[in-house]
Amino acid sequence: MLARFDELLARPVSMRALALLRVLAGPLVLLHLEPFLTEAWSGETYADAFYEPYAGWYPEPPEAVYIGLLGLAVVAATAMSLGLLTRAATATTFAIVAYNVFLSTTHYQSNRAYLIIVLGLLVVAPCGRELSLDAWIRRRRGRPALDASAPGWPLWLLRFECAAVYGASGLSKLLDPDWFGGFVTWKRVTGAREDLEAWPLPDWAVSALTDADFHAVAAKFVVGTELFIALGLWWRGSRYAAVWVAVVFHLAIEAAAAVQVFSLLGIAVLLIWAVPSTRDRVLRIDPTSVRQRRLGTAVGRLDWLARFRAEPGQPGAPIAVADRDGTALRGGPALAFVLSRLPLTAWFALPALLLPPVRRARRAGRAAIGEPAVAKGPVGGR
């Protein structure tokens, strides 16, 4: 048991998703720092108004040093995103963001805690070996690229933290009779009825949203959604659905409440649920077809998680894709499948996988895996 646990933690996996998350984390850190920087720009800091240190021993810098640290965090977050001196930049960003949040109890917000966790795990993961200036500089100097895979434990830990965020939230609401019964959301919405009526909503929608019975059902739906995300992310069969629902969940929260960087961070972290292996799907493009070549270029540019490797297909053949298990698709179903695996288009394309023609094509593709003609092909192996 312990040996299997150790094997899981040490198993080399692709750090691509964490590298992409690192790139996205930089702008999120800048957004997070924005209110502190705005305050500093106007000559104020946290210490000029009510704040509450966690502990008397926690060091508080002079104002100029504090503002300097915020500036350093901006530089470090930018370098982290660009992948320049990646580990040092990420560690500096993490240290300053965490230090600042823990300066005062008033600085704490859940989204900031989540950001600290993400940054902390990016520090320990070697996620600067690709999608980084460090890797580019290394190539320019003619040095061999570093192995982009590494022991998977930081990725597993971040997955745990990601699920914990949804799970803890859902569980707390499930255990609270006021929340689960719908009173909390009903009271909040009716309390903001004037704001609601300012929205371009029909009267029946406003009536429904301020109806207690509606909230008695909606609250259970919210709790179920959070718990589904928390649990559904762990199984391959439900993972894509959980990711899709999570995106909707975050967009809904963003529309309804001020949650700072939580929505963007939550959506960005969903990247880590991609299977941590790269270039294990093959996209076959007809090199004689301008349309397919363009599509291949677009996929190449949007394939931030490096899911596909492109190979030339037979002239005149439709676009084709082979999944990592060998399932072969061609034409429309192949296109839907490819788009469902690209971060920017996945949310829009995933529902297309449920369409009957696509489902039929995937079933047929799976059934054909055992056939010699496919099995002997360049990606026929599982």
Partner: protein, 148 residues
């Protein structure tokens, strides 16, 4: 580091982080400040407070009136505490909100050196926890050394 030490360190780090995270989640059900407990939008509770400065000669002066060059809303700018006289939603729960209010009284009492007449600050809070009837609580800052 030897492979065996690396394995042990990895194991300890992962189990440690998981354990600490679960402990924070559990702590969130009791603590006023729910760090790393991830319990957003916990309540529909509301509150308001009448805060006064009690002077050395016994006067009770609302903090809505500026004093000694200070304004409450400039001293307490965060966590929805700037205008305590207006009934507010307790964004992160009532206990959390009132813990901040209590701390804010202490901070203002300790960080208004030009004020030489206030003995302490006092907040009479009316709080509505979700659908429960209102309940009242009183918070007081420590006695100020510079008062009077």
């Amino acid at each position: 580091m030897s492979p065996r030490l690396t394995t042990i360190a990895r194991r300890v780090a992962v189990v440690g982080v998981v354990a600490v995270q679960l402990a924070f989640v559990a702590r969130g059900y009791r603590a006023d400040h729910k760090q790393f407990a991830f319990q957003p939008f916990p309540e529909a509770s509301t509150w308001r407070a009448e805060i006064v400065r009690v002077t050395t000669d016994g006067r009770r002066i609302p903090i809505e009136r500026p004093w000694a060059g200070y304004r409450w809303e400039e001293l307490v700018t965060d966590r929805g505490l700037s205008h305590p006289g207006i009934r507010h939603h307790a964004d992160t729960g009532l206990n959390n909100q009132l813990a901040f209010l209590d701390s804010a009284l202490d901070w203002v009492a300790a960080n208004t050196p030009r004020d030489r007449e206030t003995r302490y600050l006092e907040a009479r809070v009316t709080a509505w926890h979700n659908d429960d009837p209102p309940h009242e609580r009183t918070f007081r800052s420590p006695e100020r050394e510079g008062g009077g």
